[in-house]
Amino acid sequence: MRPLRLSAYTLTSALGAGLADHVAALRAQRSGIVRQHWETIDFEFCMGEVAGVDGVVLDSAFARYDCRNNRLAQLGLAQDGFAERVREAIARHGASRVAVLLGSSTSGILNSEIAYRHRDPQTGRLPEDLYYRETHNSYSVADFVRRYFQLSGPASVVSTACSSSAKVFATAARMIDAGLIDAAIVGGVDSLCLTTVYGFSSLQLVSPDPCRPFDASRNGISIGEGAAFALLERPDTAVAGEVWLTGAGESSDAYHMSSPHPEGLGAQHAMRSALASAGLQPADIGYINLHGTATPSNDAAEDAAVCAVFGTQTPASSTKGHTGHTLGAAGGIEAVICALVLTEGFLPAGVGTTTQDPALHCHYLLSQRDQQVQHVLSNSFGFGGSNCSLVFSRVQA
């Protein structure tokens, strides 16, 4: 693929708001996962909640868009000067030439979950203050961001569960290649809701303790929430230190709705295809940000796939022990973490993991490593067997 520059990027998760909080937490191997009560859920669980979301107030023009997911989106857009960089790009390219392509799994469904408790007992009608279009519908967050920047270019939400906000990078690359747009706001926003807490609990995939990816005693995910954004543009020149999207690969497992293929066949296809699109060999990749959800079967399948493609020497870790599994935002969050790995010159060790499962053979990092690498790969795999791998590269001096 023709590379795209990440002209600006930011992320907000349980680790904090903005890049600096994340660099500090990753370097310190600090987790943002906390055991607590949330909403009306009658049991405690370990989760990666973003601080301050409830206190975010949307501009009055966006009153109908008010929901946890869009509050989190607005909080995220306000970090690291991201919104200013977007406005500069709009001034350069024009409002019709900038797309909004975001990933989300559950959007603002929390509003509908609460509204269903307040249906009219006689008629079953929903309360009048539920704005389905602006909150619950999957498109909500892209609609909100498009209006926030007063854009008139293409927009959509990719909703492929936990690969959603990785796939938007590939969508943007195709749209820019086709000449439809000059720039794209990509990323993902997903927020806590009852659907995922009770849903993953029903599948017995929620860990009673903060999650431990690739650990011998791993026993499930910790649900998190987050917002990540990147501004993608075609680079005019190569400036040393810039981070570029250089490869993307997508595939389907065609195996099972909620379990991965045991040998990670689909995952292998996605990684190989990403490498091919970047024109790189496996040995060129200096770090892999694993999907690493910490369920026994997901990590085993991913390990098999990584070892099949890369062997057992490439340093790898999952950052879900830090942030929790931010589901539809995970691909975007981990893309930005990959950018930090490239610019800050360190490889983050996993957190929560004390002993690598002896049945897993990839080179899982248990301690921090200061090392400048040039190319990194990020994996995102979702329910329904939806796989996406991205390659990011640092422009050399």
Partner: protein, 262 residues
């Protein structure tokens, strides 16, 4: 952007049980008679899934199979774009009812069916398709988003791509907020290069001029009520097998023009 080429087409909607019937209606050879849409679970689904399949899976899979068959291509080989405003909205309603009840424990199946890409997941399993697949939503602009994605995916991968646009009727009480009355689906197989069997060359572009409307009031009503039926002006042009240009409703300030070259 570069031209793409139409290889296959399918339609299922009220009064239009398949493309041949839809073509007659769109050519105004027979009147649109709104009849209930009969959806069946394709027999490529395993028996247990066939029994459990909801309207979204039945509709999207039928649309996809018919379009691939029309193109003479094996679905297992086709990258695909699922695009739907609400996915499986019946499943969503059932889940919301459970979460608002005294016993909130949802069934695992309900939960994994709640992801927007569940129909795409069932499709890949049933057709053994490991090619790239995406699942989109853009509220009323969902059809335009899917068509753009399918065209750019075909061009980007250098391989044909199947677009499956589908919406199903919303159940109460969500219907109060999203009054989609009937299921409607459109399948298009799009190739990045012309083939011996290409139906038409399509030139897509983004414009700011208003979207075309249907002259027939019944068809126009469908176009306005169901996001997937926003394709009707294009389908009419294809049904007439004439060259021409239509503007499809997409986003505020951004419409999707399609020039059809026969």
């Amino acid at each position: 952007m570069n031209s793409v080429y139409l290889e296959g087409i399918s339609v299922i909607g009220p009064g239009m049980p398949d493309w041949p019937m839809a073509r007659q209606v769109l050519r105004q050879e027979s009147a649109l008679e709104i009849a209930p849409v009969t959806l069946t679970a394709p027999d490529i689904l395993p028996a247990t899934e066939r029994r459990r399949a909801g309207a979204a899976t039945k509709l999207s899979m039928s649309i996809g199979l018919a379009a691939a068959r029309d193109a003479g291509l094996d679905p297992a080989t086709l990258a695909n774009v699922f695009t739907s405003t609400g996915g499986d909205c019946d499943n969503c309603h059932a889940l919301l009812e459970t979460l608002a009840s005294d016993d909130r424990m949802v069934s695992p199946t309900r939960f994994h069916n709640s992801v927007h890409n569940a129909p795409a997941g069932y499709w890949s399993i049933a057709t053994h398709c490991m090619a790239p697949s995406t699942s989109l939503c853009a509220y009323d602009a969902t059809l335009g988003a899917g068509l753009l994605e399918a065209a750019t995916m075909a061009l980007g991968n250098g391989q044909p791509c199947l677009m499956i646009a589908f919406d199903t009727a919303y159940p109460k009480p969500l219907f109060q907020l999203r009054p989609i009355p009937y299921p409607f689906g459109v399948g298009l197989v799009i190739s990045p290069v012309p083939t011996a069997t290409s139906r038409a060359e399509l030139k897509l572009s983004l414009v700011s001029t208003p979207a075309d409307v249907m002259a027939d009031t019944g068809l126009e009503s469908l176009r306005q009520q169901i996001p997937a039926a926003r394709a009707l002006p294009l389908l009419q042009l294809l049904a007439r097998q004439t060259a021409g240009r239509v503007v499809l409703d997409y986003l505020e300030g951004c419409q999707l023009a399609v020039e059809v070259v026969q």
